[in-house]
Amino acid sequence: MMTDTSASKKLFEQNWKRISFWGSICALSQVFICLVGLPSELNRRILIESTLSLGYLFILWIPLVFGYIVSKMVELEGVENPKPGAADLLSGALTGLFGSLGLVLLMLGIDNLDMRDPLINWNPKLFRLLTFENSIGFGSLVWIAVGVGLGTVGASLHQMSSQIRKMVAYATFGLFSFAVLEDVIDDLSEGFRLEWLSDMIYAKKGGMTVTSMIVLAVVLALLPLITRGKFKKTVDRYRSDATPENQRRNSVVLFSIIAVLVIVLPWFLGGIINELLANVGLFLLLALGLNIVVGLAGLLDLGYVAFFAVGGYTTAVFTSPNSPWFSPETHFGISLLVVVVMATLAGLLIGAPVIRMRGDYLAIVTLGFGEIIRLLFLSDWLKPYLGGSQGITNIPAIDLGPWEVRGADPRSVFYMVLAFCVLAIYVSWRLQGSRLGRAWMAIREDESVAEVMGINTVNSKLMAFVVGAVLASFSGAVLAAKVGSVFPKSFEILVSIIILVVVIVGGMGSITGVMVGSLVLIGILGGPRQPGLLQEFQNFKLLIYGALLVFMMLKRPEGLVPTARRTRELHQEEYLQDAWLGDDENEEREEVGEQL
């Protein structure tokens, strides 16, 4: 009897402090997002025909998430935990309510106060959006209903059976991807001559039709039922076949599938997507280079864009007829050799003075050098040689005999970048497992000890700088040929930062991680100047990058696809605990006992 009464909470026996805390945060985030202008700006992008736009979605996900958080229970071991029940649903609903009250206050505020001066988005446009072009009363009622509803749904996620939760997750994320990736799917279906498919899913004016949404949701929800762990089983089998021979065979199969896909797919893709992939490739090349410097050798280089610029400008000077001072107009291949030499020199020049610094100091000094290089290109002093702020234009396309790589044909650029990326991946992979790679790792772990153990730290660090610099300069060279011109403006500090974010979010030191990172960040959100798949986010890119970086640092510091080593590094305590549970110590004692 006792357990029964203690097991389920009374409906109003709530943790009010917790609810008001998370409720206020929920309200604040909703108001913040509104005032930043995300909903008004993204309202144009329709996700579901005449029902939901991306702008509204940005407000709606908040109560859902906070409802989920607030009703999450801490499970204590050895204590009778209260069963989840209606009380938890109520906490979720109340949190949602709090959030909606924030929006109501915002509406009242916009109606009665004029704060447009500091807050640009404190305007009628937002007001109309929040009230659904109706009265405040109507808007408030709708938001409260929606907030309470979504908060409850968020809370109820804890109480569903895992099967249903999986189905809901599949349906939601599937629909979201379908809606957001409209352009890609349109493009793909066109390439495969399946226009009827995309016509069926999407409405003419953009967004999915209501019917297609319902059908897709059902299909997606049934997907986990049909596959039900088959996929996982296959992966497990793949993993458990650990004999080196099988593993090698599996990797070869996997590798060839990916290779064929990457080579064949661009033929079915339109210009925009190919352009996007080319940009992803350019940044992947940069990120792979930085991954060697930061991820392997542990040198935090914030001026990495300098080498990108050196590659671009060298190509421009050597191939363009418009180069103001020295214009040999060589072939791209010859200029590429010069690029390698110049990048090596730049790596040595920047590396030599900063290499004796450690940690934060290194980061600050490289940051300075990155800016110095950009300012040199911009300066009047070098204007007669490098064109100053006008840059160098008219860089010719890359002539490869039967083919020509030029910016107007993004597919050719993609293949060019692909070749360089494959080279960079090979280089990273081989170096990781070599004598030099081990030295880099040792330097990252403990520089003074590495030195005492006989590693020439100065040479090894310089080598990391140079390898990174050469890879970055390749990217710069292709960019110059792709765009056809180079300006100092293209080599801002922001480039360094975004590449660093790509490496960190993807997973430092992990080649796959860096690939996933650049695909997700550059492909979907876009690079510093290049639009991504979601062009609407253009103005909010940095906000989202920042939020993502903070989130990753808090929740998954090892990155999206980490190396096993880095996961262990960041979760050392848990790992040690497991090792302890594995009874290693006892075994140890026994061994010693036996030997004596």
Partner: protein, 261 residues
């Protein structure tokens, strides 16, 4: 000619003499213990020899050549290796990698070999690996088998100390400096390691200098004992001579009260 000769070595930290007027030499094949109370300058002595701290004055000659002004990695290359009092492994590298990486100064392959997987590169990698496994198997079964691929931080305390010695061995030194190799070990482990230290000289041919507080170990392993106090060598000789030397007893236990007044 002695393997290591130290003339009038002095190390000063802002007015404090951590080491002063140290004259000292080590013959090939010796095991020498350096003892002394805490703060006597024993670890500073090691740091100076291995090049981590530049001496204020004096001369250190290893194998006929001065090591002053050389970088730590150059000194290691000449044949001096050391371990650390507070174990300083590369915690996130595996056991095997820890040993492989310290053969850096005995190997030479760089970028080109790794990229083109040349014959020389493969040959060298194989040799590094074989040598590492050979060194690790010196410690019985503890550091080989499945442990080869474990990260160093997951090892037990005693195993970390063993791995540190293995890592120092892998630099193929002539002179091995062990900084409190048995600190924190239990009596069984201590006894075992004491045996290993003698084997290191007999089987691997290292000349060994040990800093140690455990007098039983000092007695068992050392041919000669040097006592430091406040940076000054106060006694040298066989263990029995040193252990009865009144100056040494005073350094450890202090002067009787009557004598002071």
């Amino acid at each position: 000619m002695s393997l290591l000769e130290i003339h009038n070595l002095q190390v000063t930290f802002g007015g404090l003499d951590a080491l002063s007027s140290l004259d000292f030499s080590i013959e090939e094949g010796e095991i020498v213990s350096v003892i002394g109370p805490n703060g006597a300058g024993k670890t500073t002595f090691f740091n100076t020899i291995s090049g981590m701290i530049p001496p204020t004055s004096g001369e250190i000659i290893f194998n006929g050549e001065s090591v002053l002004g050389l970088d730590p990695n150059q000194i290691t290359e000449m044949g001096i290796a050391r371990t650390f009092q507070n174990v300083r492994l590369f915690p996130n590298m595996t056991v095997l990698e820890n040993v492989m990486v310290s053969q850096h100064c005995r190997t030479s392959q760089l970028v080109v070999g790794a990229l083109f997987q040349t014959k020389a590169f493969k040959q060298e990698e194989r040799e590094i690996r074989e040598r590492s496994e050979e060194i690790l198997s010196f410690f019985g079964t503890r550091l080989i088998g499945y442990r080869l691929d474990q990260p160093a931080f997951a090892l037990s305390y005693a195993n970390r100390r063993r791995l540190e010695i293995a890592r120092a061995m892998a630099t193929q030194p002539r002179l091995l400096l062990l900084d409190e190799p048995v600190a924190g070990m239990n009596p069984i482990e201590t006894a075992e390691l004491t045996g290993l230290i003698s084997r290191l000289r007999d089987e691997w041919g290292f000349t060994i200098v040990v800093i140690e507080h455990d007098m039983k170990v000092v007695r068992d392993v050392s041919d000669r004992v040097v006592v430091l106090d406040h940076g000054v060598p106060i006694a040298q000789g066989a263990y029995d001579e040193v252990s009865t030397n009144p100056d040494v007893i005073e350094a450890y236990l202090g002067r009787p009260v009557e004598a002071k007044s």
